[in-house]
Assembly symmetry: C2
Homo-oligomer: 325 residues x 2
């Protein structure tokens, strides 16, 4: 039986979690959120956050598309995004690299330059790691962070009646990828969005003080809404017409024969944030100058997750990026 036979990556993780030791008195939240949350550590009561992410050449980046600086920036951003989604601040990073023996030292140094630039932007320090050889360049990052208990935004913290918001336009990264895959030169903003994205640590600490659940959009809006609903045991209704689509996505969709809406709904790696929030707290958030777009609302569990189209029709909300589907 292969991984896609059981339903792909998320089904596999669930099976593995069931068979492993995954409970510990200090573990506030483990497998199933953007980062693990560990109590009993900081003297001031803050929780320790730990997230890990692995990028493999050919699967997550291509050296003919991205410069090593861009690959370094992206590998840091996708990890910082996980810490941001918990409401936390990143602190120390550990980098494990597998490199083919013929790798140019200058390439590795440029990769580290990109990482160091991104680390400086996000206030992160590289504190260790491992370097070894392998046929394919593989970058595995473990990132620590911390969060105060009152700012912790778990996926399970959403409640029926709350609004679902996103921090920015979606689909840009997937549209950039589609252009590159079709051997077309993407518009500069899409290229940047796919190859050297930023994450939303600029707004996450403020959102965290007012939001319920939060998650970063790394597997597509549809998948992330489903993650929040599954963990919170509730449903959601997403209003299709309200989903903000990155302005350059339409152009890319036309050129590649895709639907702009699909890029926004199912495209991965936008690294914007999706969060649940009460109407009252959303007003407070907007008053602080934070931009957020309401894309739907959370409902009772029985209603499941659905998409509502402008003509009033509804379809179940499925989709999202799965590494083994």
């Amino acid at each position: 039986m292969k991984i896609h036979d059981i339903g792909g990556e998320f089904a596999l993780i669930k099976r593995l979690a069931r068979q492993s030791l995954t409970t510990h008195p200090d573990l506030v939240a483990g497998i199933g959120d953007d980062a693990a949350v560990i109590g009993g550590t900081f003297a001031d009561g803050d929780y320790l956050l730990v997230t890990t992410d692995m990028l493999v050449e050919g699967s997550h980046f291509r050296r003919d598309w991205a410069t090593p600086v861009q690959i370094g920036i992206k590998s840091v951003a996708c990890n910082v995004s996980d810490i941001a989604a918990m409401g936390g601040s990143p602190t120390l990073m550990f980098v494990s690299l597998a490199l083919p023996p013929e790798t140019e030292v200058a390439w590795v140094e440029a990769l580290y330059q990109g990482m160091t630039d991104a680390c400086r932007r996000y206030g992160v320090v590289i504190a260790g790691g491992d370097t070894t050889h392998g046929e394919r360049i593989t970058i595995s990052i473990a990132l620590l962070g911390r969060v105060s208990p009152q700012n912790l935004c778990l996926r399970s913290h959403a409640s029926p009646g709350e609004l679902l918001c996103v921090t920015g336009p979606l689909g840009g990264s997937a549209a950039g990828l589609a252009m590159l895959s079709a051997a077309l030169e993407p518009l500069a903003d899409l290229k940047e969005k796919h190859l050297a994205p930023a994450c939303r640590l600029d707004v996450s600490p403020i959102i965290a003080t007012l939001a319920g659940a939060m998650i970063d959009i790394s597997d597509g809006l549809a998948a992330e809404v489903n993650h929040i609903c599954e963990q919170s045991g509730i449903g959601a209704e997403i209003i299709v017409a309200d989903i903000p689509i990155h302005p350059s996505v339409h152009h890319a969709a036309q050129l590649t024969g895709n639907n702009a809406f699909d890029f926004a709904l199912s495209g991965g790696e936008d690294f914007e944030l999706l969060f649940s929030i009460s109407a009252q707290n959303l007003r407070r958030l907007l008053n602080k100058g934070i931009q957020a777009t309401v894309v739907g609302r959370l409902t009772e569990a029985m209603s499941a997750c659905s998409l509502k189209f402008p003509d009033g029709k509804r379809t179940p909300l499925s989709g999202g990026y799965n590494h083994f589907s």
Copy 2:
């Protein structure tokens, strides 16, 4: 310029460390030890330890030699060994896996069974990770631990006059590997030592209360002595005749046309511990029933690291496993 042109893995890490942000007020010790040591965390003053290790199929394990259970055991043991070498106790583990899409679910579950068995043995809990696709199976582990400041054994904690000791016989893993590489069936103990090794967390907490510097023997005795001396700014004299050689190594050396002594001195992955200790504390350690073998002594910096042969001759101590040499 390729990685081996600048001197391999360790030279690369030094270059990268120089160009990156690697200082942080909480960082007691970062790049250059078995694990990073982070202060300002636990309320009781303990330090947080973080170590990461990446195992790549073809480079670190072969599916035709090792069962998935063995690969799981080894991937945990090599990380726990790093925490043990700091004098600490491991706590929570994060596993990132890259898997080819055609991987059998049963294989991944057996890998996790090996990891879970090893975790139970060492008191570790799997708290998260990442699963993605890649052409080669890659296992990247980040392991947390904690240590009290008085038990912390940095590589830089060695002093001239101290004795250098190892916790057990060496060369077994390298001899097992040499047999497998020559398509010979290794003796069961060598096979176990190479494919499913244990680490010395059973004795490290006691040694840590009495030792100066400590390091785990993952790159060979010669390399580890050099690491301790470099970090402590001192020299060492290793007495060749005193190095304990795993009893089955001689047989393997004969069959593969190698020298048993080379396996013990330069073979990697024994996962025994090398530590510096005063003569007085060594007596205390032995009185507690801990087995340790003196292999040499630490000297002033000017004398560098040397090997002393039975005929009284000395040679500089070089060698050890380097991923890019």
